[in-house]
């Protein structure tokens, strides 16, 4: 990883989308043990994965990981905290008027 250069990796992954009453979730797991660091970007290839209601869809796909440059990683570590309020649940969107 360079200070300014971005590395691009491809990684096999398993995507699991659950669109069920019991559980609504969607996760990506990298099957080669790839680890995501601050500032990295991940894109799963292929068509949108749409699970019909009541279904769990599990698919093996390929993902591209665009590694953040060293500088970008540092920047994300320094500034990421400013977005922390997103973690809080306020029941409503930030739109002032609807």
């Amino acid at each position: 990883m360079g200070w300014l250069t971005k590395d691009i990796e491809r990684a096999p992954c398993t995507v699991e989308v659950s669109h069920c009453f019991e559980s609504l979730h969607a996760h990506v797991r990298f099957n080669n043990g790839a680890v995501i660091y601050p500032g990295d970007e991940v894109k799963v290839h292929g068509p949108e994965i749409m699970a019909p209601f009541g279904e769990v869809v599990r698919e093996d796909r390929e993902a591209t990981i665009v590694r953040a440059s060293k500088l970008e990683q540092l920047w994300t570590r320094l500034t990421g905290d400013f977005e922390i309020m997103e973690l809080c649940e306020f029941s409503f969107s930030e739109e002032v008027t609807l």
Binding site: P52, F53, M85
Partner: protein
């Protein structure tokens, strides 16, 4: 998988079991596809986070072991399993005749809540997956289960309204941001506790005034908020493992988070007047009620509480709210005049927030025993 036959997914004890049961049910839903396409699509846009996973692994809960095990056992026992499914209490909702503004605000409520639960699930699952400390991964797995269950429940209410959530965000490019573990503790602890206070206040209010219950989902708020409560308890115990997290410079961070969370809640609630009117709730009363409960609860771990009864508190919140409305109006107006108005509104909002921060806080002697039970 046949072992699960006849079981409802809401009875599942783990995420995995729930998935297995749901998979089995897949076949039943093929006809649903036809209706799906007629539904309006709502793309969920959760955020993706990383944190310092080594720091998380280094947490040692042995200092609070007894309380910790009790809490985990309680979560494993999963008293709310089976609760989040519709039964005869789920009354018919007349979406067609719902007042349009109320409908808009209520749907905003459902989508925002669903996204929040969903993002919580993504975050907790990530922490579970990346961690190596058994205590921590077990906790996050349990919390991810609850959040996914809540999200599924809200999603069902959305479907009734003709809205289909779209989970297609995975195939879009997404960037991972970074939060320090301690900020995750402060923010999620407060979020879970304020969530409990918000839900229980509405639940109790509607118990006393059932004529205002315009949607059945509010009947589920009681058990729902008990999940939030236990999640908050877990974060309180996590913070208890390291006294540094709640002393020294971190006290200022705690004050900042308390102020930011309270102020944001106040501003957002005041932006949804039709929702609160339908519930028969005065947002000012509601805010004060929620702040009082949250402050009382947070005394379990935070060495300070905000002085919400200070004569400066309410007027400053109102000023912040007004500045926020002006800011939005100026943004929409655009042009050079809009720009000037925007600068002025931003400055007023920032000043009000800083003044809120400057109200002296009240000291609090944190008890030796952290654990609380939901009593409101």
């Amino acid at each position: 998988m046949n072992a699960h036959s006849g079981k409802h997914t809401a009875d599942a004890t783990t995420v995995e079991e729930g998935l297995a049961i749901a998979e089995e049910l897949d076949r039943q839903y093929t006809n649903e596809m036809a209706t799906e396409t007629a539904m309006q699509n709502t793309l969920l846009t959760p955020r993706f986070y990383t944190t310092d996973f080594d720091e998380l692994d280094a947490i040692d809960v042995s200092g609070v072991r007894e309380d910790w095990d009790k809490l985990i056992d309680q979560m494993e026992a999963d008293p709310n399993r089976g609760h989040f499914k519709k039964n005869e209490d789920w009354d018919h909702v007349d979406w067609e005749n719902m007042e349009p503004q109320l409908k808009k605000e209520f749907i905003d409520f459902l989508i925002s809540s669903c996204t929040a639960e969903f993002s919580g699930c993504v975050l907790y699952k990530e922490m579970k997956r990346r961690g190596n400390n058994k205590d921590i991964t077990q906790l996050f797995q349990l919390m991810a289960r609850d959040e996914a269950r809540h999200a599924g429940f809200i999603n069902d209410a959305l479907r009734e309204a003709g809205l289909r959530v779209n989970l297609g965000f995975l195939t879009q490019k997404k960037k991972y941001t970074y939060f320090r573990p301690k900020f995750i503790y402060y923010a999620t602890y407060l979020s879970e506790k304020i969530g409990y206070a918000r839900y229980i206040t509405i639940f109790r209010h509607l118990e006393a005034n059932p004529e205002h219950r315009f949607h059945p989902i509010f009947k589920w708020f009681c058990e729902w908020c008990n999940d939030e409560f236990s999640h908050g308890e877990a974060f309180a115990l996590l913070m208890k493992t390291d006294p540094k997290l709640t002393s020294g410079i971190n006290v200022y961070w705690i004050k900042f988070f308390l102020t930011a969370v309270y102020a944001t809640m106040y501003v957002r609630d005041h932006q949804r007047p039709a929702f609160h009117k339908a519930l028969g709730v005065d947002p000012d009363w509601y805010a004060h009620e929620v702040f009082t409960k949250t402050s009382e609860l947070s005394k379990q771990i935070f060495p300070i509480t905000l002085d919400i009864d200070s004569p400066k508190w309410q007027p400053l919140l109102e000023r912040l709210q007004k500045a926020n409305v002006d800011l939005d109006r100026a943004k929409k107006q655009g042009g050079p005049i809009g720009f000037v108005k925007r600068m002025s509104a931003s400055a007023r909002a920032a000043t009000a927030f800083v003044q809120l921060l400057l109200i002296p806080s009240k000291g609090n002697q944190v008890p030796a025993n952290v654990r609380l039970e939901p009593v409101y």
